[in-house]
């Protein structure tokens, strides 16, 4: 079993997450795309930790999870605040700074 398969998988997942961020318009789905990218990076960290026989990768993945959890809390709170003000969760509608 080639360990590199996991790295390829993480690249595919990262691409799908990035495409979600680029294409979708619902802010919550866009945010889930960001989460998917973070998770694919974690997968790469864990894979490389195993490849190099060093637990540093797993430790960093743990920190990524912690930061991602904090980021989700703040991001969802911002989305909710925007939804209350604009009655919409679309990323197209948050354009108050434009005019």
């Amino acid at each position: 079993m080639d360990l590199m398969n996991w790295v390829y998988l993480s690249v595919v997942l990262f691409t799908i997450g990035g495409a979600t961020v680029l294409v979708r318009r619902n802010a919550i789905v866009v945010f889930m795309g960001v989460e998917l990218m973070l998770n694919s990076a974690n997968l790469a960290f864990v894979t490389f930790a195993r490849m190099h026989g060093d637990l540093d990768g797993q430790t960093v993945a743990l920190f990524v999870m912690l930061v991602a959890a904090a980021e989700v809390v703040i991001g969802l709170a911002i989305i909710m605040a925007i939804f209350r003000a604009r009655r919409s969760a679309s990323v197209d509608d948050a354009n108050l700074l434009k005019y």
Binding site: M1, D2, L3, M4, N5, W6, V7, Y8, L9, V11, V12, L13, T15, I16, G17, G18, A19, T20, V23, N26, A27, I28, V29, M32, G33, L36, N39, N42, L43, V46, F48, A49, R50, M51, H52, G53, D54, L55, D56, G57, Q58, T59, A61, L62, F63, M65, L66, A69, A70, E71, I74, L76, I78, I79, M80, A81, R84, S88, A89, D92
Partner: protein
């Protein structure tokens, strides 16, 4: 990464080098979980409803937890399941329910060519990274069995509390700040005066609404149920005494079915057949002139909160 290990990098070839401590089960885990994860994450991209996207995302998270366990990171696998599927995806679903169905769920593109450009960018990135990965020489996988000898959690804990202790303390501060920030962002100032009991009752009087509590259900209930309407003095069931939801579903008992229950009720009250049937109030509501009607003390039916539900 460890500098000593990185120097090994050019020496090693790729190919199907067997990782120490790995098993053939690894390949099985990969070929089972990887297609599931890719398909589920494609659901994130193509699902019309945001809830479906969130659920397929949860599938990816759970599968990743299994992948981590297969990759000799059992602690991370557990944390992944707890944090991501347990907390993060639940938070996502919670906010989705709060926001509700939205126009942004539609897949009509508002910027012309945005989807094409997005697909091109994603495809270009994928091709770029895959080519770069394919041209890289990888070290012979070392495996974690030697490092995990004292236990995976022990190894991670040693790193967290020695080399990364400052970063660890920073994450503690970060989590506190994030919690406070979410509270501040989600907080909404009360715009009007808080309604007191007096103002509520005065408003109800002004609008001519019902002042008394609603009649409780289940006066003749045989079981602890709210589907039995109370009977008015003329024998008709009171619509107000059962929940409107149950009525809309047609799940309430009618007077006709109550009459069918009379023998069973009398059996319940007087199981061995002795004694007079003084307890049996007639359920068809007709005044019973042969026996004194005395209502049985039934289960407490105080439902004062339903008065608020009506208003």
């Amino acid at each position: 990464m460890n500098a000593a290990l990185l120097t090994v990098l050019p020496l090693a070839g790729t190919g199907d080098a067997v990782v120490p401590g790995s098993s053939t089960g690894d390949a099985a885990v990969f070929w089972v979980l990887a297609p599931i994860m890719v398909l589920a994450s494609l659901g994130l991209l193509f699902a019309r409803k945001a809830v479906y996207a969130a659920l397929s995302m949860a599938v990816v998270m759970v599968s990743l937890g299994g992948v981590y366990v297969a990759l000799e990171a059992p602690f991370l696998g557990m944390v992944q399941v707890f944090v991501y599927t347990g907390a993060v995806m639940m938070l996502f679903l919670f906010v989705l329910m709060l926001v509700g169905v939205d126009s942004s769920d539609s897949l009509v593109e508002t910027i012309r060519g945005q989807r094409l450009v997005g697909a091109l960018a994603a495809g270009g990135f994928l091709a770029f990274v895959l080519v770069a990965l394919g041209r890289t020489a990888w070290p012979t996988p070392v495996g974690l069995s030697a490092v995990n000898e004292a236990g995976n959690i022990t190894g991670i804990a040693e790193r967290i509390f020695s080399r990364y202790v400052f970063a660890f303390e920073m994450t503690a501060a970060l989590l506190v700040v994030a919690a406070i920030g979410a509270m501040v962002l989600a907080h909404r100032e009360r715009s009007g005066e808080r309604a007191t009991q007096r103002t509520i009752s005065e408003n109800r009087l002004k609008r001519g609404q019902r002042m008394t509590p609603l009649p409780p259900p289940g006066v003749f209930a045989r079981h602890n149920a709210v589907d039995t309407p109370a009977l008015l003095p003329d024998g008709t069931p009171s619509e107000l005494s059962v929940s409107r939801v149950l009525q809309a579903r047609g799940q309430t008992l009618t007077t006709g079915t109550l009459v069918e229950h009379v023998p069973a009720i009398q059996e319940d009250m007087d199981p061995d057949g002795r004694g007079s049937r003084t307890h049996g109030a007639r359920l068809d509501g007709k005044p019973d002139d042969t026996r004194p009607t005395r209502p049985e003390p039934h289960e407490p039916a105080g439902r004062s909160d339903r008065a608020d539900e009506e208003s």
